[in-house]
């Protein structure tokens, strides 16, 4: 089950990436975001980073080990945003 914070991020993913046919509530918190069922790629990572910076003022950085971990799952992405947002 998604937490409330995870649901907000899940909805942001669906909106930012135009994931028609994907219900935000059904994105598994611990399933891999990339290379998994959603079929996301590096352009999506850029779109996600842009959406997150605009909505939460949090900048993603790839040379940062934390970002790499953040993109693993919905749960880790949510935790990253929660930790870093203003």
């Amino acid at each position: 089950m998604q937490t409330a914070a995870q649901h907000i991020i899940a909805q942001l993913l669906v909106d930012a990436l135009n994931l028609e046919g994907v219900n935000a509530a059904e994105i598994e918190p611990d399933a891999p975001l990339f290379g998994g069922g959603l079929g996301l790629d590096s352009i999506d990572a850029l779109e996600i980073a842009l959406a997150i910076s605009q909505k939460f003022g949090v900048q993603m950085q790839a040379d940062d080990e934390q970002t790499r971990k953040a993109f693993a799952t919905l749960a880790s992405l949510t935790e990253f945003v929660e930790t870093h947002k203003n």
Partner: protein
């Protein structure tokens, strides 16, 4: 040699080393296992060089064995340059390379949907690099420090990130950052004057991030049409002028304009339109090209330059990767469980192709994706991919765009997102 190095420095070293040993560099369009298998089969003595990717997305890909990893290519010799201790040796004389040596082969989606090999003899790369540098670099002739966000396997990335620096005073940042914050940090680490080589996708994210940017003397942007307002915003954010470059894999960089203030394109000096009969597709020639090339776009030529009138409708460009709608459609049609499919660019959101699909036995989205990434790059996976009962085919089997769009909007409305 299949050069999959993601790191600009290692790519360049590998490219030059291959050149000295008279080995041809193959530039795969993507890293899908199917592409690599096909190239290995077509060029049986080839081997693969890579550097196991600093790409933030490679880790999850590797973990879960999806597209992007390099496993399961048992017949193809692979060398990971990160496992080698590369040592610099004292420079010897600049090597003499025969002018017709096939230095590189680029691949692009042909009009038939089959990838087409494009030979790049050494003299073509040398002359085009001299032409490109003269046209694209700031005119002062000073050493510039360049950051390129484009992969070297793409012609745009090869020309700007690898070749221009071999012939001009350009110092290249040894990384290819993806996220705006990384890009800013890398740019800040570079001394002025700075040169940013990018694409509309990357620039949009960079400008949209609202991060303060260090001044750049020049921005070069190519691979997909750039909106004038994004060009203006990019110039405002960096204080430099932005040249948009129009090109194709066959010719390489072809024309330029300052998109913030110009609409007309000018050919890069050294290229010229060939005389031709009225109504025929435009053709470009140049002394360094092996043959006259037909442009993918229709153009209107005036004394001061030319206007692009629209792309050959089958070709799409997603994140700098060129694909064929026909080829994408073919992959969907070959997917188990799919009875019929049409892939098209919806008029509103031009960033990705969309698809309408008729299912035979309700394949799951995951199954479709799994099959797709085995055959084509993930960026071409149509989004949205909507299921419909049937496609509005004419008696001849033809599909009219207007009817496809009508059905698309109806199907989109049903998902509650229109």
């Amino acid at each position: 040699m299949l050069n999959l190095c993601d790191n600009p420095y290692l790519f360049t070293v590998a490219f030059c080393a291959a050149l000295i040993r008279r080995q041809t560099t193959l530039l795969p369009q993507n890293r899908s296992p199917e592409t690599l298998r096909r190239l290995a089969a077509e060029y049986p003595s080839s081997y693969l060089l890579h550097n196991h990717l600093h790409n933030p997305l490679s880790a999850p890909n590797e973990q879960h064995g999806q597209a992007g990893d390099l496993v399961d290519l048992a017949d193809l010799a692979q060398v990971n340059l990160n496992q080698w201790r590369l040592q610099s040796s004292r420079a010897t004389a600049i090597p003499e390379i025969e002018r017709d040596f096939p230095a590189a082969i680029a691949f692009t989606s042909g009009s038939t949907g089959r990838p087409k090999a494009i030979n790049k003899p050494w003299h073509t790369l040398v002359t085009s690099s001299l032409m490109n540098g003269a046209c694209m670099l700031p005119p002062t002739g000073d050493l510039v420090h360049q950051l390129a966000t484009v992969p070297p396997q793409h012609m745009w990335g090869l020309e700007t990130g690898v070749l221009i620096p071999l012939f001009w005073p350009v110092c290249v940042a040894d990384s290819r950052p993806l996220f705006p914050a990384d890009l800013v940090k890398t740019l800040q680490a570079l001394p002025a004057p700075r040169l940013l080589v990018s694409t509309p996708v990357h620039l949009r994210a960079l400008v949209g991030s609202n991060l303060p940017l260090p001044p750049c003397s020049r921005i070069l942007c190519a691979t997909a049409p750039l909106a004038a307002d994004l060009a203006i915003a990019s110039e405002a954010a960096t204080g430099g002028d932005l040249l948009e470059i129009y090109g194709c894999s066959e010719i390489g960089s072809t024309a330029f304009r300052r998109t913030a203030s110009e609409t007309l394109w000018r050919l890069i000096p050294g290229l010229s339109f060939q005389p031709q009969s009225a109504g025929a597709p435009p053709q470009i020639g140049g002394a360094h090209l092996t043959e006259v090339q037909v442009l993918q776009d229709r153009v209107e030529i005036s004394p001061e330059g030319f206007t692009l009138l629209g792309r050959n409708e089958d070709m799409v460009n997603v994140g700098g990767k060129r694909g064929s709608l026909m080829q994408i459609t073919q992959v969907l049609l070959d997917t188990p469980g799919i009875a019929d499919a049409v892939v098209f660019m919806p008029e509103d959101a031009a960033s990705r192709p969309a698809a309408l699909v008729v299912a035979k036995d309700e394949p799951s989205s995951a199954a479709i994706q799994h099959y797709f990434v085995q055959h084509l790059d993930t960026v071409f996976l149509p989004r949205p991919l909507l299921f419909v009962e049937r496609l509005p085919r004419e008696a001849t089997g033809k599909l009219h765009r207007a009817k496809v769009l009508e059905l698309y909007h109806a199907a989109l409305a049903r998902t509650g997102k229109a």
